[in-house]
Amino acid sequence: MAQMTMIQAIKDAMRVELERDPNVILFGEDVGHVGGVFRATEGLQKEFGEDRVFDTPLAESAIGGLAVGLGVQGFRPIAEIQFVGFIYEALDQICVQAARMRYRSGGRYNSPIVFRTPFGGGVKAAELHTDALEGLLVQTPGIKVVVPSNPYDAKGLLIAAIRDNDPVFFMEHLNLYRAFRAEVPEGEYTVELGKANVVREGSDVTIITYGAMVHTSVKAAEEIEKTQGVKVEVIDLRTLLPLDIDTIVTSIKKTNRAIIVQEAQKTSGVAAEVIAQINEKAILHLEAPVLRISPPDTVYPFAQIEDAWLPSPASVIAGINQVLEF
């Protein structure tokens, strides 16, 4: 099996699907000849030609709308929005046009589109390049939202997303692109959308998280087990919509305590939704209120205080202790 970084795994997923299905096409700003600002599509234009992999003019709404029109005609577009903060320009096409196509047409048309976008902090990028905007998307009916945390999942989830006949918003964490290598199978495989992954088993507290915060949480779990003997279970959601509440409830029935760690601001986001669903399905199994570990409700800060603003292993450990001591 090959050792790949997450960005290599993402490219490999697109390569496999471009090869398998002539209807898969890939476009966005600078994705062609250069292969994208992060090289996620490097070499794909050379391999599949300019007809399948191409640069667009700089216009995010048009990238989204082009994908919708092509999708209506049976293509399976992978549309890259270069940085997450630029999706605001394309939100009508993503959240209204693509996400509502099946509903508006009573099932006559669909939007088999993957919108790929890098996001995520800790890299000292320019303003509006890193924000965690998944909360905007998960409140949109008709779209799926995926956030992989490792190379294996990234490839399998992306292939599943490309094959899905509904639109998928696929968020790739900047800090994970080249953070580490992992074993990734050659060729085709899928990781089912809507299934969480228990990345670390434990009996005392459950951490529910996704993206780069999976790694922050695992670090915190290892540390607190070493120092305090607390056994922490860590769940990587992988898909934020649909949310795998069953895996969460199973874990809470075992640990009776939970915290959610997210990189997005606190209010009304994924963490709030997870807590609401835990209340509906597992409240009697809880020994303490479920806690959110997240940045405050400010805009994403300029680089200088980014590290202090984002959740850290220390802030996660503090949260674990808070629910243990309740």
Partner: protein, 360 residues
């Protein structure tokens, strides 16, 4: 002087007034025989039949709307030449991405009339376009459809199909970012798409003079590197000719065309606004003599192809057809919340299955 780094332009920006193409004068005479579309007598009569039918349908729809038997409805009277002429110039496998007022084009392109009424009544089946009808349902967000047509046209080009996409918006829509983004993409990729702007003078209540400082909507094509033309939107023959030429350009691989049709809506934007607050009687009476039905009636009558009897017959047929389709729409089984839930995704996820239980 140093050479510019990148320059594809080989023209000077025009500041000249664009003259609208006209074939048929308001008095029914041909004023531009070079541009007379190549249509048989039967086709000329069919154009008139469709315009008369559509006016009857529009009058009926406005009444039904006021009775509460339709939902949202955007009146079309005055714009028949633009709507019907532009659709008439297309092939059946060309694709229409309409705005909210463009129901006549969809119906004449093949959407069953009762589905148009269902759409107005807020029923999903209104948007369930039959497989062999190449249209999208009407767009509500102004200008979003311009990008969809651009994508559809790209699909045609990639598959080497001799098909074109046409999309409609109004003069207000030509102020949207999506309008510029779509035309710019079409220019960059040389796509077979027609951007048809029905400039009826008002974006709801805001007049064209307050919409833009551009000399015309047609001039906006220049920035995108596509062809821009203006047409008398009350002259159905000129509209047929302009769209035929644009479609042929697209099919020949020569790219996109922006057509600005100068037209007028006699009635309000929707059934909810009051035209007396933003239009004058003088303006309305200035447009009346330019009516698309009147001039075509005069033209066809002179040719011996039309008379009062035929027109009365078409009107009766229209009234009966509209009544039949309204009945069918009213008798169509209502949507259900569980059906709505199932229309969100191809396979309904478990959380929605659970939410559906409350509506069983």
């Amino acid at each position: 002087m140093s050479k510019p780094l990148v320059s594809q332009a080989n023209y000077e920006v025009t500041t000249e007034k664009v003259e609208p193409l006209q074939v048929l004068a308001p008095d029914g005479t041909i004023v531009n025989s070079d541009k007379m579309p190549n249509l048989s007598d039967d086709q000329l009569k069919e154009l008139m039949r469709r315009m008369v039918f559509t006016r009857v349908w529009d009058e009926r729809a406005v009444n039904l709307g006021r009775q509460g038997r339709l939902g949202f409805y955007a009146p079309v009277s005055g714009q028949e030449a633009s709507m019907i002429g532009s659709e008439f110039a297309l092939n059946k496998d060309d694709f229409i991405c309409p705005g909210y007022r463009d129901m006549p084009q969809l119906v004449w392109h093949g959407l069953p009339l009762y589905q148009a009424f269902l759409y107005s009544r807020g029923h999903q089946h209104g948007g369930q376009i039959p497989q062999d009808v190449h249209v999208l349902m009407p767009q509500i967000i102004i200008g979003a459809q311009i990008l969809h047509a651009t994508g559809v046209a790209m699909a045609f080009k990639k598959r080497n199909q001799p098909r074109v996409a046409i999309t409609y918006t109004g003069d207000g829509g030509s102020s949207e970012g999506d309008f510029y983004e779509g035309m710019n993409f079409a220019g960059a990729f040389k796509l077979p798409v027609i951007y048809f702007v029905q400039n009826n003078g008002y974006a709801i209540t805001t007049p064209y003079s307050k919409q833009t400082g551009a000399l015309s909507v047609a001039h906006k094509a220049l920035a995108a590197g596509i062809k821009g033309v203006q047409v008398d939107g009350m002259d159905v023959l000129a509209v047929v000719q302009a769209v035929t030429e644009a479609a042929e350009r697209g099919r020949r691989g020569e790219g996109a065309t922006l057509i600005e049709a100068l037209t007028y809506r006699y009635r309000p934007h929707s059934l909810a606004d009051d035209t007396t607050k933003y239009r004058t009687k003088d303006e309305e009476s200035d447009w009346e003599p330019r009516d698309p039905l009147t001039r075509m009636r005069l033209f066809l009558t002179k040719k011996g192809l039309w008379n009062e009897e035929i027109e009365a017959q078409v009107k009766e047929e229209a009234k009966a057809t509209v009544a039949e389709h309204i009945k069918k729409a009213e008798e169509t089984e209502k949507m259900t919340v569980s059906g709505l839930i199932d229309s969100m995704f191809e396979v309904t996820p478990s959380h929605l299955e659970e939410q559906k239980q409350a509506y069983k």
